[in-house]
Symmetry: C2
Subunit: 152 residues, 2 copies
DNA sequence: TATTGTTATACTCTATAACTATA
DNA sequence: TATAGTTATAGAGTATAACAATA
């Protein structure tokens, strides 16, 4: 019986039964854990979760205006400005004035953005598969998403 | 066929299939939703999720030092100072110098803190039950917690 | 009048470095 | 030397108000 801890007299573990039973608490811890994994995985690509979701949404909905993309992601349009400008400065996103509404910017991926996202999607797919493996398989993933949906 | 939206020509819904399939994204949205509910529920009690978890943990582990409570919650001890001082200023928590270690503060709930937490626990239990109902029952709650555990 | 993108700003949360007093 | 509590500070993320151009 070896002591894993450095401590000579390891403290008695705390009673965390109450917090462990709280759905919101467990949700938060799981979300932080998954986001940490995302940040580590995408560290070299300099992509944060919000950036990735924006790129994906623009790719799947080309030509939409900032407000539409922002709103569906739950991002305030004021905060979306900095985010999308950052992606534009990196040459991934194009903001072209809308032909039908001179106030609006139509969002598109650049050629570089398309290639970048293709790579990012592959990286993400590997990470996602690892999460699915941890859950136990596709059935469990579907179960989880359904349960999360009922909370949202 | 009535149009639910105010818009005369409602925009075509965005394709959100890609983001909807991302575990981390769905986790984040669910967590935000549950936390919003918590904030609304505890608005009058002026309790944030972190405050509540700290009170619960001190109640279940009286006499522990700040670092221990902070660490198990994943809060940096530097940030924990403001949090626990706030609870002390409200008369809910007592910071008494430890008898065995003059550097450490032993944390306890005050009499007022015990009563306050008893009330908060009842309020929280009602909220938790509502979440369980949304999930479909205790079996689904257990399922969700198990799945979240595998991600953490 | 209302909306789009924008700027400015403030508040919360989180992270790090450095100090003091004790161990 | 290392640890507990603390302070200061900086960086994200998020929220609101207000403005110019346009609808």
């Amino acid at each position: 019986m070896q002591n894993i801890l450095r401590d000579e007299r390891p403290a008695i573990a705390l009673d965390t039964a109450s917090t462990a039973g709280i759905i919101g608490y467990r949700l938060r811890r799981a979300q932080l854990s998954v986001f940490q994994k995302f940040l580590a995985t995408f560290d070299t690509l300099k992509l944060r979760p919000a950036d990735y979701s924006v790129l994906v949404l623009i790719a799947d909905n080309p030509g939409r205006k900032q407000t539409e993309i922002a709103e569906v992601l739950g991002i305030k349009r004021a905060n979306f400005v900095t985010l999308v400008h950052g992606l534009e400065d990196r040459g991934l996103v194009e903001r072209t004035p809308s032909s039908t509404d001179k106030r609006a910017n139509a969002l598109h991926l650049t050629t570089e953005g398309v290639a970048f996202l293709a790579h990012a999607r592959r990286v993400h797919e590997a990470m996602e598969q690892e999460l699915i493996d941890r859950l136990g398989g596709d059935k469990e993933r579907t179960q989880l998403l359904a349960l999360l949906d009922q909370l949202t």
